[in-house]
């Protein structure tokens, strides 16, 4: 029976939108496989965040990390604990988000556990004997499907691959006490610097309004800005991104 884990992320004490999507996807795959799904939350406030994840998840495993017991960026705290849980519970497949932290965690797990990984998943279905992962390859020139050959692996899933949907009943929440044999080398977070206009990561965006060469001159972006204002009037979560011209 396949056991599928969704690896959640917590931001400011609440699960990210991508976490709810992964919980939904894990539950859906487990239903197709006749297996079970669990969403794993590791970090400060995991137990509290689990209350919001449970309606979307088969069940939830939480590892609360008290502030001060582990230092460093989130991925460096999560990865060694997750590696210890994988060693102990041996899940078959892991779903991770294609966020900065999600990709860092997946990479660290490749180094710590030797699990294979498929990246940039834009669709995941259950195939004959495991997940079938759809990817947009070479900048969208091709759509490929890939699978694991050894019955285990990690999939990095892009935002909005599925819509977050609640299950028929909230999943059970289990607090896990896990020992970490080897922390990763220390990286100190000396300070956090807030930047004006930075209020939400792009993968958390519900709507993205974009403009490019087609809008003509700089004035043309007025249309883009007005559309953003009409869709999310004066939202404090609205954020402007600028990408380099090529």
């Amino acid at each position: 029976m396949a056991v599928i884990w969704a690896i959640g992320e917590i931001a400011d004490g609440v699960p990210t939108k991508l976490t709810l999507e992964l919980a939904t996807l894990a539950r859906s795959l487990a239903e197709q496989a006749g297996g079970e799904s669990q969403t794993v939350l590791i970090g400060a406030g995991a137990a509290k965040a689990a209350e919001q994840v449970a309606p979307y998840a088969g069940s939830v495993l939480t590892v609360d990390v008290e502030p001060g017991t582990a230092a460093g960026p989130a991925a460096a705290v999560v990865a060694p604990r997750l590696a210890a849980m994988i060693e102990e519970r041996k899940p078959d497949y892991l779903l991770l988000g294609a966020s900065n932290d999600g990709k860092d965690i997946a990479g660290m797990l490749v180094g710590l556990t030797d699990l294979p990984v498929l990246v940039s998943g834009a669709g995941v279905d259950w195939g004959e004997d495991g997940p079938l992962v759809e990817m947009s390859t070479f900048g969208g020139k091709l759509v490929t499907h890939s699978a694991f050959t050894g019955g285990r692996g990690m999939i990095i899933v892009r935002p909005a691959t599925v819509s977050a949907e609640k299950g028929s009943a909230p999943g059970k929440v289990e607090s896990v006490d896990i020992g970490v044999a080897n922390e990763l080398p220390a990286v100190k977070v000396a300070k956090h610097v807030e930047e004006a206009g930075a209020a939400a990561p792009i993968e958390e965006a519900r709507i993205i309004v974009g403009g490019g060469r087609g809008v003509g001159a700089e004035d043309g972006f007025k249309l883009v800005e007005e559309l953003a204002e009409a869709l999310a009037p004066s939202s404090p979560r609205r954020r402007a991104f600028e990408t380099p011209s090529t």
Partner: protein
């Protein structure tokens, strides 16, 4: 400060294709991965100010040598090219194993890696190598500066950036915000011809060839197809205020907002 830059030779962007075995075709023209060149530029700037030298490390077929020559012309001092027939089709696990083995043979204070590659788009290899080698890992860097006995990095985040510090040796994965790469000068191109490119085989690294390549990969591509044609586009050619109202109505009618 001595820096190793991980530099992948990728198919020229726009010419990528899969072979009949569904592996990326690497017999055509290659170029240095664009994101890696930003890290090379930062490494060159740091060594120009603080001393030391920049080495390159690449993995792949002989077509990658041209990309290394350009990077040497930009200012890197030397290059190591891991090339072996057994490597073709390696999955990320094997790639990490080979690059880690090569780094164990090299001396450095810092290892730099780009955000991701134009052909793979994974963005996980750098973190995996750091974990495998037990190096501090500092990612999504928009600024990198050496400090006494260590390195300081600005890591991009959702609401700004974190200032990270770690002792060296360490591995830094960086972004394009580090600054655009330079063009090689004519003098640099001439000098690059005499700079050493060392070629290492899997045997040189002590890596078992049977654990690499497509036959040992734990992932496989099953099929590849052109994406479906996009549906017809609706053009709105009105003044901004009218256009915005029409677009909002259009999205609402499809329950997209």
């Amino acid at each position: 400060v001595n820096i190793v830059v991980l530099l992948k030779a990728v198919p020229v962007v726009g010419t990528e294709r899969l072979g009949s075995d569904l592996l990326t075709e690497r017999s055509g023209q290659a170029e240095a991965n664009g994101n890696d060149e930003y890290l090379l530029e930062k490494a060159l700037k740091l060594t120009e100010v603080h001393g030391g030298e920049v080495s390159l490390l690449t993995l792949g077929p002989t077509s990658g040598a041209e990309a290394l020559r350009k990077a040497l012309a930009m200012g890197a001092a030397r290059a190591v090219h891991v090339a072996d027939d057994a490597i073709r089709g390696s999955d990320i696990r094997a790639t990490v194993e080979i690059l880690s083995a090569a780094l164990r043979k090299m001396e450095y204070d810092l290892v730099f890696a780009g955000y991701d590659t134009s052909d793979g788009q994974g963005g996980v290899v750098a973190a995996a190598i750091a974990a495998r080698l037990g190096l501090p890992y500092l990612s999504y860097a928009s600024e990198i500066e050496p400090i006494d006995g260590g390195v300081r990095v600005h890591r991009l985040g959702a609401t700004g950036y974190d200032v990270l510090e770690a002792p060296t040796p360490a591995l830094v994965m960086g972004t394009q915000l580090l600054g655009a790469p330079r063009y090689p000068s004519l003098r640099g191109i001439m000098q690059a011809r005499s700079k050493p490119i060392e070629t290492w085989s899997l045997a040189d690294l002590g890596v078992d060839p049977s654990a690499t390549g497509s036959s040992a990969a734990w992932t496989r591509t099953i099929d590849a197809n052109k994406p479906p044609e996009r549906g017809g586009a609706t053009f709105v050619r009105e003044p901004a205020d009218v256009a915005v109202a029409q677009i909002v109505d259009f999205l609402a009618s499809r329950r997209l907002i």
